[in-house]
């Protein structure tokens, strides 16, 4: 496909990229400390796992559903990962693998029950949220695991060479690229979007809805698991409340990135920029020593703005279509 300049201008992410660049430059001009290595490091660390959490929700939004249990899966994986290493002395690679398996199993459960019951994923994942969280609390008795192996801790603190870039960021970047390819260039990814656009049409075209839905939930669980383990690396401990605060931000970034909750429209790059915008705003408010409650207000305004912009775009497209039709 030839990417012409006009095509780039049509992309959802262009406006967001401008927002990121402009806000970054403005903040840096007023407060040069914004670009200090330490500050950039903090910014990138918080972006790293939020990016994966946002993608975990985005893939479910793509099929027109919601996953309320992203945080609960992440939390369960986080404490399993750290508990296996601390209590059972299991090696790091096996612990990572076990964490991924647990995430995939949780996602499969969400998808399988949704497909078999025909009940909305909103309800199913609301139920599994409590189940996963309950298991989490049962295992930990609300106590964190403190004895994380040194190499895991080091990974959480490491930077690439002399740059302020955290090692932690590598995984989310790889995952973002893979997700872009998956959504835009693979048959399963396209079938998911088709399903999100219209369940009925997709089924009539011979797309298997159970395959699409279960796959999406498995990917979501898998990503939530990775995010959970990254947070353990970052915090240097496995606390049972990891994941508790993920839910709303997981929707914020895809929505800022132009995703439609009814399904069928998501954009990986725009979602990533959405994460970045949220991080920049939070960071800027810290630098300017503004009360933290403003972060919330800002976030709310951002979401409203994003939704209005999308509405306006769709309206313009509709008008264009009407002009076409009356020819």
């Amino acid at each position: 496909m030839n990417m012409t300049v006009a095509a780039i201008f049509k992309k959802d992410w262009l406006g967001l990229l401008i927002v990121v660049l402009v806000s970054g430059l403005v903040i840096a001009a007023v407060k040069p400390a914004f670009l200090s290595p330490f500050n950039l490091y903090v910014l990138m660390v918080s972006t790293s796992y939020m990016l994966i959490i946002a993608l975990a929700q985005m893939i479910i939004i793509a099929i027109g559903q919601m996953n309320l249990s992203v945080g609960a899966i992440g939390g369960l994986v986080a404490i399993s990962f750290s508990g296996l290493m601390e209590v059972h002395q299991i090696s790091v690679p096996v612990a990572v693998l076990s964490g991924l398996v647990i995430g995939i199993a949780c996602g499969f459960l969400n998808g399988y029950i949704t497909v078999k019951s025909g009940i909305s994923a909103f309800i199913i994942t609301l139920a599994t949220l409590y189940i996963f969280k309950g298991i989490n609390l049962g295992i930990t008795e609300a106590e964190p695991f403190y004895n994380i192996p040194e190499n895991v801790k080091n990974f959480g603190n490491a930077k690439i060479g002399n740059t302020p870039i955290p090692f932690l960021l590598i995984i989310p970047i790889i995952i973002t690229i893979l997700m872009w390819v998956f959504i835009n260039r693979t048959e399963t990814g396209r079938h998911m979007l088709a399903y999100g656009n219209s369940v009925q049409s997709a089924e009539l075209m011979g797309i298997s809805s159970s395959k699409v839905v279960i796959t999406a939930h498995i990917i979501s669980g898998f990503l939530a698991a990775i995010a959970g383990m990254l947070v353990v690396c970052r915090l240097q401990l496995g606390t049972p409340n990891i994941g508790d605060s993920w839910l709303l931000p997981s929707f914020a970034a895809p929505v800022i990135g132009g995703a439609i909750l009814a399904g069928g429209k998501v954009d990986v790059i725009a979602t990533a920029l959405g994460v970045l915008i949220v991080a920049i705003i939070s960071q800027a408010l810290v630098i300017f020593k503004i009360d933290p409650f403003f972060v919330q207000i800002f976030l709310g305004v951002m979401i409203l703005l994003a939704v209005f912009v999308n509405r306006y775009r769709e309206y313009k497209q509709e008008v264009r279509r009407k002009i076409f039709s009356s020819e």
Binding site: E187, R190, A202, L204, G206
Partner: protein, 502 residues
């Protein structure tokens, strides 16, 4: 090889409580266009579902190219080259045309990733067969309805369809678009070796394009694969309804038509209507006729306050008024609007009969505390549900389970219950069988005789001429002319056509 590419003999199919098909037979000649006709509920849909593998017949045999076959699911049907173009548009609107065409079999690069260039090349071929001069990269939502439909047919052809089922393909096309569709259908029958099953309520189309006709009535064959040359319109109608078509005789007493209730004076709207002058009298049926896109539905939407009128006067019962919403249109001025799109705008499909019928009267019957009980509702609306002979097991049946004709009756009943003075009826009989249609016609005439003023929008010329007292011809959001209707079909229709083409 058999002369028939598809043959069904003596198929029976029962659903709990209904015998949908009773020894129904059907033979599709290779390279022919075959009309499948029948009223709503005659068994057409069931037969189509058997052909497409959605249902299986209880007994009876199905032959494809002379060989007995069993279709267990829609995929089996696809394998035998059977493809349906559904009434509802079934493309993925946010995807490109090319991707929609190839979605079942996306071409891939060596890495296993989707090859969009190849999609464009491969899909172009099928678009060209359908004379569609569109870039395969165009997003479907930017196409007109007519082009979307052609894309669907192109998609079916790309799946190597040899038997194509078209379910009311022209219901949302303009006459010109329909004519274009027909010439393309003839072309693919000739060049691509496709055979077509054509379902329609419009008999003109059947005579225009079909070679053979099968008529179902109450699940049985009223005629089986008859050559169209042996039939005329009258015979066909008799086969479908078991008696002659009822021409609504004009028993209108025009002396009742007096006193202007509604007048539009030099109205200009946000949507682009210019200089609209109209007068509607009590008891009058005023028709709005025009081609698709003439601005008729848009005009009445401005009138009831859904869109804005920016210049000119709306005068109701002699008083200049401004209607700002459908709510005030109903409550202050007693104007009701029966939408052409009953599924999207007329009914709440997941609610029951009672709730749908009573939605317009809640505000009239609520008690002091603003509460409404089922009993109060039933008292108010039940007479109308009965009057319209709505076929429903109970008033608590969910609307989406009723047939199209009965759904339309509910959307009419709702406004009867509301007791409107001016009723706007938009395409009341699209997709409705002949019997219900005749019934609705009588109802509209009755309403007018009893003092309701009616604005009727219809693209069905016979319907227009049998109902309207005056016919306003619209074109390009303007009034092109007004025809006094003396119900002489030939004279009036030619006058209308003159205005449309002037």
């Amino acid at each position: 090889m058999s002369e028939f590419c598809l043959e069904i003999s003596a198929a029976n199919k029962s659903f709990p409580g209904v015998k949908a098909l009773d020894k129904a037979s059907f033979r599709l000649r290779k390279g022919s266009i075959h009309a499948l006709l029948g009223e709503n509920g005659a068994g057409k849909s069931t037969l189509i579902k058997i052909i497409t593998g959605v249902h299986r017949q209880d007994s009876g045999t199905l032959f494809i190219n002379g060989k007995e076959e069993t279709l267990n699911n829609p995929n089996d049907a696809t394998k035998f080259g059977i493809s349906v173009v559904h009434q509802e548009r079934n493309l993925i609107r946010r995807f490109s045309v090319g991707e929609n065409l190839m979605l079942n079999n996306l071409p891939k690069t060596v890495l296993g990733l989707i090859d969009y260039d190849e999609i464009a090349i491969q899909s172009k071929k099928w678009l060209e067969i359908m004379d569609l001069d569109i870039d395969p990269n165009t997003v479907v939502s930017e196409l007109t309805v007519a082009k979307m439909q052609l894309c669907e047919i192109a998609k079916a052809l790309s799946l190597k369809a040899k038997i194509l089922l078209l379910d009311e393909p022209t219901s949302s096309l303009s006459p010109k678009e329909a004519e274009n569709l027909f010439s393309l259908l003839r072309k693919i029958v000739r060049d691509e070796g496709v055979s077509i099953v054509f379902v329609s309520h419009k008999l003109e189309e059947v005579f225009n394009i079909c070679d053979d006709v099968t008529v179902l009535r109450d699940g049985q064959n009223a005629c089986t694969s008859e050559n169209i040359k042996n039939l005329d319109r009258k015979k066909l109608v008799r086969l479908m309804i078991g008696r002659d078509e009822q021409i609504v005789k004009s028993t209108r007493k025009t002396d009742k038509i007096k006193d202007t209730v509604l007048a539009l004076n030099k109205v200009k709207t946000e949507l682009g209507h210019e200089n609209i002058n109209l007068e509607l009298a009590r008891s009058e049926i005023m028709g709005l006729y025009g081609l698709v896109g003439a601005g008729r539905t848009e005009l009445v939407k401005c009138l009831i306050g859904l869109e804005k009128i920016i210049e000119g006067d709306v005068i109701i019962n002699g008083k200049k008024t401004a209607i700002d919403s459908p709510k005030s249109a109903l409550e202050k001025f007693k104007i009701g609007y029966i939408s052409e799109d009953r599924k999207k705008e007329g009914l709440i499909l997941i609610h029951n009969v009672l709730d749908n019928t009573s939605i317009t009267v809640w505000s009239q019957i609520k008690k002091a505390a603003g509460l409404v009980t089922d009993g109060m509702i039933a008292n108010k609306v039940d007479p109308y549900i009965r009057k319209l002979e709505v076929k429903t097991p109970s008033n608590y049946q969910i609307i989406s389970n009723l047939s199209g004709g009965n759904q339309q009756k509910i959307s009419v009943a709702k406004w009867l219950a509301a007791g409107t003075d001016i009723l706007i009826i938009d395409e009341p009989t699209v997709g409705i069988d002949i019997k219900t249609k005749a019934y609705l016609h009588e109802l509209i005439l009755n309403l007018a005789d009893n003092g309701t003023s009616i604005i009727l929008i219809s693209s069905d010329m016979p319907e227009m001429i049998s109902l309207a007292d005056r016919i306003v011809v619209m074109k390009d959001f303007k009034v092109n002319g007004i025809v006094e209707n003396d119900r002489d079909y030939d004279v009036v229709s030619s006058k209308i056509m003159e205005f449309i083409h002037s």
